[in-house]
């Protein structure tokens, strides 16, 4: 019986738990804060806000 393989698959290894938790990494904390500042200044796109209100 064939064992199908997919070279183009996302090939994630969800069981591999050895990927570090970068949640407290200063680099990513800074990036997230930067995005928050940008969105607080410019706001979310109207179409997105409308969509969220529609879903709520």
């Amino acid at each position: 019986m064939k064992n199908p393989t997919n070279k183009k698959s996302n090939a994630t290894d969800s069981k591999a738990d050895h990927v570090r938790d970068y949640g407290n990494d200063p680099y990513f904390v800074k990036k997230a804060n930067k995005s928050k500042a940008f969105l607080e200044k410019h706001g979310f796109p109207k179409e997105l806000v409308d969509k969220k209100q529609f879903q709520a």
């Binding site: 996302n10 050895h18 938790d21 990513f28 997230a32 995005s35 997105l48």
Partner: protein, 134 residues
């Protein structure tokens, strides 16, 4: 997606992803992190991306690795976003480049392809030049 991409791995939280860029400048470890945020009452995940400096272990997104695999990396990031949104349906992902060329690359390159790939469930919108939500 049918684009060539790297194998990537994650952890139990599904917020951190790693893969290796392979090219003439060697193997360069890349990291994608989805950081939960809330702005104006709207919760979203900020997509952070960077290279792991093999010497210091710190992360940098301003370096140019010049490994000749930009499209493969973008395709990998797009697949990671799809994996992330498959694991966390109905969440929003925010991505912004650190430099103008990166900003240009995001909406004009693979994110546009990603938009086509995810348009069926409407989870992606390219909203403006510097803002992409999924």
């Amino acid at each position: 997606m049918n684009l060539d991409q790297y194998h990537f791995r994650t952890n139990a939280s599904h917020l951190d992803f790693e893969f290796e860029s392979i090219g003439p400048n060697g193997n360069i470890q890349k990291v994608v992190r989805f950081s939960p945020q809330n702005t104006n009452g709207i919760t979203y995940f900020n997509l952070g991306f960077g290279d792991v400096n093999p010497t210091t272990g710190t992360i940098d997104d301003l370096s140019k690795s010049n490994n000749g695999d930009k499209n493969k990396i973008l395709a990998t990031i797009a697949s990671i976003v799809l994996e992330f949104t498959a694991h966390f349906p109905d969440v929003m992902v925010y991505a912004q480049g650190s430099t103008p060329p990166q900003d240009e690359t995001l909406p004009n390159g693979n994110l546009s392809k990603l938009e086509r790939n995810t348009s069926n469930n409407g989870c992606l919108r390219i909203c403006r030049r510097r803002l992409a939500t999924f």
